[in-house]
Amino acid sequence: MIAKKKDIVFPRISPLGDKGLLIEFGNHFEISSNKKALALDFLINNSLPKGVQETTPTLISLMVRFNPLEITYGHLKEKILFFLEKDLETPTHLGRSFVIPAVYGGDDGPDLEEISDLMGLRSDQVVSSHTESQQQVMMLGFGAGCSYCGLLPQVWNIPRGEKVKPSVPGGSLLIALRQTVFPATPMPTGWRRIGTSPCLTFNLNKEPKFLLNAGDSIRFEQVSKNKARSISDDILWETFEK
C-alpha cells in the first residue's frame, strides 16, 4: 500500500524543545512499541553518545535529552537512526524481577468490588488474576517513582474511573486499560484502587533510591493486612541485592 502524503512513518524522530529529541514508535498503544522504546533506551545508554544527558522511555516513545552545544540534533539523529537499524524486537537484556506484597480490597483497595463487577468476576478471582500476572514496568512517570506496569490479560481492559480521587497513598495499586499504576508518593488519580502495598519503591534511605526501572518485571503477591504491618521496604531491596 502506498502511504498517503500525510501519513506518518514510524519510528518518527523530531525535536522536543531545543535540548530534546523524541522517537515515537506509533500513535496508539501497542506493547511491541513499548518493547522497542525500551530496547532503544538500552542501546543508547549502553554506548552513550557524547553530549547525551538522559533518556526517558514512555509507553510508545523515548525522549533523549542532550546538550545541543556538544552534539547537534542532526548528528544525534544519525546516531539514533543507526541504533534503529538494529533488531529492537528481540530483547537484548533482561530487566530484574521483583515480587511485591500487597493487601487487596477493604480500605486498602476500596474499588475492588466495582472492578469485579466491571470484569464480571468474583473479587477473589480478580485478585488471583492480578497476582498471577507477570507485569513489566513499561515506564515511570506522573510522579517520583510511579511505575506503569502491564499488560494484564484482556479482561482487565476497563476504562479509568469517572471521579478523580484527590489523593491516594504511595503503594496504591491503581487499575485501568490493562495496566497497574503503582505510585511511590501520594497522588491524585482517576484510576480505580484495588489494593495497597506496604512497600514503597522510592526510598531516600536506600541505594538505589528508585528501586524500579523501566524494563523490570514485577508480580504482586497477596498478603493479609496483619502480615503487611510487619513488612518494610527492606524486603524489596534485599531481593535486589541478591
Partner: protein
C-alpha cells in the same frame, strides 16, 4: 550558625541547579527557575560550585542573621532592606548577628533570590538542595525554620549590573512533535494571540489567559503519556494553555502545541501576574543560537563583577551619594 526565618510567604524554597537525569524515574530536574538570577548572584561571590539560594515567588520574607555573613539579592525587582535600610539589588552587603533582612514588594517580575556567601547548607537529595514539594525533596521554607549556611571565605563587596528582563512581551518558541495535532488555523491564531499570565502559577507551570477562541485539537486528547520537556505548552481539555516549568510532571497526556526555547525560559517565568505577552515562532537553529548566546552570557558574568570601593552597608546616608549612575540600573527608586 544559621538564618532564622522570621516570616515567609508560601512558595519560597531553597534552589540550586536541581536534579537532572532522573526524569526516567518520574522526577523532573527542578532547580532555580531563573538561571540568570542564580548565576548573577553566584558571580558576585565568585562561586563556581552548585551553591544554593532562597527563591521567592511573588512575595518575600523576613530573616534574622544568626552569624555574620554576606548577602545579595537578584531576580525580580524587589525591595531588600537590612535593619530597615534599603539595599541595592545585585550588590553584596554584609550583615551582623541579629540583623534583620527583609525582602518585600516584588514589583516587576515574579521570582526573587536571596544569596548568601558560599550558599545554604540545607538537606541534599540526589546531589541537590532544591525544594520539590511533590516529591518531598530538599527544603521548602517555613516560618520558624533555621537555614544553615556556609562560612564566608574571601568575600569582596562587589556588584554587577542588573539586567532588565523581567517584563518581556515577546517569548520565542519552536514547534514540537505534537504541533501537528493542531490545525494550521489554530496554530496561527495561537501565535497572534496576546496572552496574560494568570495567578494560577507556580514552579510546576503557568496557566495562561487570553481573549477569544479556545485552542481545540483535532485528535490531541488521545495522546498517550509522553515525556514532558521544560517549556512545553500544553493545551488542556478546556483549550487552556499552560507553560510547564521546572517542577512539572515528568510525563503527561495533554497535547503540547509548542515549546518555549531554553534561552527564554527565565524570561517567561519572570513575567508578572496580569502582564501580557505574545509568542514568536523561531527555527531550531535560531533557538540553539540563542542558547549559545545565553550560555556565553552566563559564563562571562564573572568578568562583569566590579568591586565597590566602600561597603555600602557602612554608609548610613547612602541615598545622598551619587551612586545612581554606574552601579545600578537607575530606575529603582522611581518605583518606591
Amino acid at each position: 550558625m544559621t538564618l532564622f526565618v522570621k516570616k515567609v510567604f508560601p512558595g519560597a524554597s531553597i534552589q540550586d541547579n536541581g536534579r537532572p537525569g532522573l526524569q526516567r524515574f518520574g522526577l523532573t530536574a527542578g532547580g532555580a527557575v531563573d538561571t540568570l538570577a542564580l548565576n548573577l548572584g553566584r558571580s558576585l561571590f565568585g562561586d563556581k560550585s552548585n551553591t544554593s539560594v532562597i527563591e521567592f515567588s511573588g512575595a518575600g520574607g523576613k530573616f534574622i542573621v544568626k552569624r555574620p555573613s554576606f548577602f545579595a539579592s537578584t531576580g525580580a525587582n524587589s525591595t531588600i532592606k537590612l535593619n530597615g535600610v534599603l539595599k541595592l539589588q545585585a550588590e553584596v552587603f554584609s550583615a551582623s548577628e541579629d540583623d534583620e533582612i527583609e525582602v518585600s514588594s516584588i514589583s516587576t517580575g515574579f521570582y526573587s533570590y536571596l544569596h548568601v556567601a558560599g550558599g545554604f547548607l540545607t538537606a541534599v537529595h540526589f546531589g541537590s538542595r532544591s525544594g520539590n514539594i511533590r516529591a518531598g525533596l530538599g527544603t521548602i521554607l517555613k516560618t520558624g525554620d533555621y537555614l544553615p549556611y556556609a562560612s564566608p571565605v574571601n568575600v569582596k563587596i562587589s556588584a554587577i549590573k542588573m539586567r532588565n528582563y523581567t517584563n518581556c512581551n515577546k517569548i520565542r518558541l519552536i514547534s514540537g512533535p505534537q504541533t501537528r495535532l493542531f490545525s494550521k488555523k489554530i496554530f496561527d491564531n495561537f501565535l497572534k494571540t496576546e496572552f496574560t499570565i494568570t495567578s494560577s502559577r507556580d514552579r510546576m507551570g503557568i496557566r495562561l489567559g487570553h481573549q477569544g477562541k479556545k485552542f481545540d485539537t483535532k485528535s490531541g486528547l488521545n495522546v498517550l503519556s509522553e515525556a514532558i520537556e521544560i517549556g512545553d505548552i500544553q493545551i488542556d481539555g478546556q483549550g487552556v494553555p499552560t507553560i510547564l516549568l521546572n517542577d512539572r510532571q515528568p510525563t503527561g497526556g495533554y497535547p503540547r502545541i509548542a515549546t518555549v526555547i531554553s534561552a527564554d525560559l527565565h524570561k517567561v517565568a519572570q513575567i508578572g501576574v496580569n502582564s501580557t505577552f505574545k509568542f514568536t515562532l523561531v527555527s531550531l537553529n535560531e533557538a540553539i543560537k540563542a542558547l549559545k548566546d545565553f550560555t556565553d552570557e552566563l559564563s562571562d558574568l564573572e568578568n562583569e563583577v566590579f568591586n565597590l570601593t566602600r561597603d555600602p552597608s557602612d554608609i548610613d546616608n547612602l541615598l545622598s551619594y551619587g551612586l545612581i549612575d554606574g552601579a545600578i540600573r537607575g530606575d529603582e527608586y522611581e518605583e518606591s
